[in-house]
Amino acid sequence: MKLIIRIAAAACLAASLALVAQAAVGPGQQAVLDSIAKLAKQTDPNFSGFSAERGNAFFLVHHTTGNAETPSCSTCHTINPRNEGQTTVGKAIAPMAVSRTPDRFTDLTKVEKWFRRNCDTVLGRQCTPQEKGDFITFMSGL
């Protein structure tokens, strides 16, 4: 009996944690994530959701396949997405973290425009739906 209660309590805790994690993503960001998830499922049969942790790693990693002047997302956006960034020609970039710039990742056309440009510049290729979703999930929880 005790064991059943414990299992039930653990299940409740896990469910509420999942709810908290979901609640961190605003409705605007969630709609964009849902669209990207659809694409991810189409292109990857093993797709099992997005991960903020992977998004964090992706944001920080240095690539050697793109423009050498901008090897990482963090080159312009700084290693802390809560900070303001700076373009290579000195223009300020509003923080990527949704907590600091609430309308980030709420307009799919705008999101796709910037991934198209910046993935090509930084990675020398287009990003996968998985990478885009991980990135947005990470930024939405910050």
């Binding site: 002047e69 901008t70 290579t88 020609v89 000195g90 223009k91 425009k113 198209r116 440009r117 510049t121």
Partner: protein, 151 residues
């Protein structure tokens, strides 16, 4: 003496360009995205939205015809926006009818520099600027006009 004259001439020319730019901006509607607004939003997202009168129409056409390779960065836009911005820039270019032609100084009709900093007038104006000024953290590059000219 000659340098002073050139400098004062240049300052007058730039003041005239900026003045007419501001006057034009004041009459634009703020509610819809007109060509000038599209230019300012899209191009101004990454760098200062250069005044169209700083380069000839051929330069702007060259620049906007390959935005996927824009100074080693992908700055591509959808076709409609690209066309709208190209049209706006060429209509107000340094060699456009009715425009301030100061930046055509020393350029032939077929010249199409891709950088404002490659124009003879820009070079004359900045001749005596210490090269180290351009690498200051708040300036970063010669392309960042506002690094020195504002704030």
């Amino acid at each position: 003496m000659r340098t002073q004259f050139t400098a004062s001439l240049a300052v007058t020319a730039i003041a005239a360009v900026i003045g007419s730019w501001l006057a034009a901006g004041a009459t634009q509607s703020a509610t819809m995205r007109d060509p000038q607004e599209a230019f300012r939003q899209e191009c101004g997202a990454c760098h200062w939205a250069y005044l169209p009168e700083l380069l000839p129409a051929h330069s702007w056409q060259k620049i906007t015809s390959d935005l996927s390779h824009h100074f080693d960065q992908n700055a591509s836009l959808d076709a409609t926006t690209t066309r709208q911005i190209t049209d706006y820039l060429t209509r107000h270019a340094a060699d456009a009818p009715g425009a301030n032609h100061s930046f055509m100084r020393g350029l032939s009709a077929s010249d199409a520099p891709l950088r404002v900093t490659d124009t003879p007038l820009w070079r004359a104006i900045h001749e005596e600027v210490n090269p180290l000024a351009f690498t200051q953290p708040r300036v970063k590059t010669k392309a960042n006009c506002m690094g020195c000219h504002q704030g």
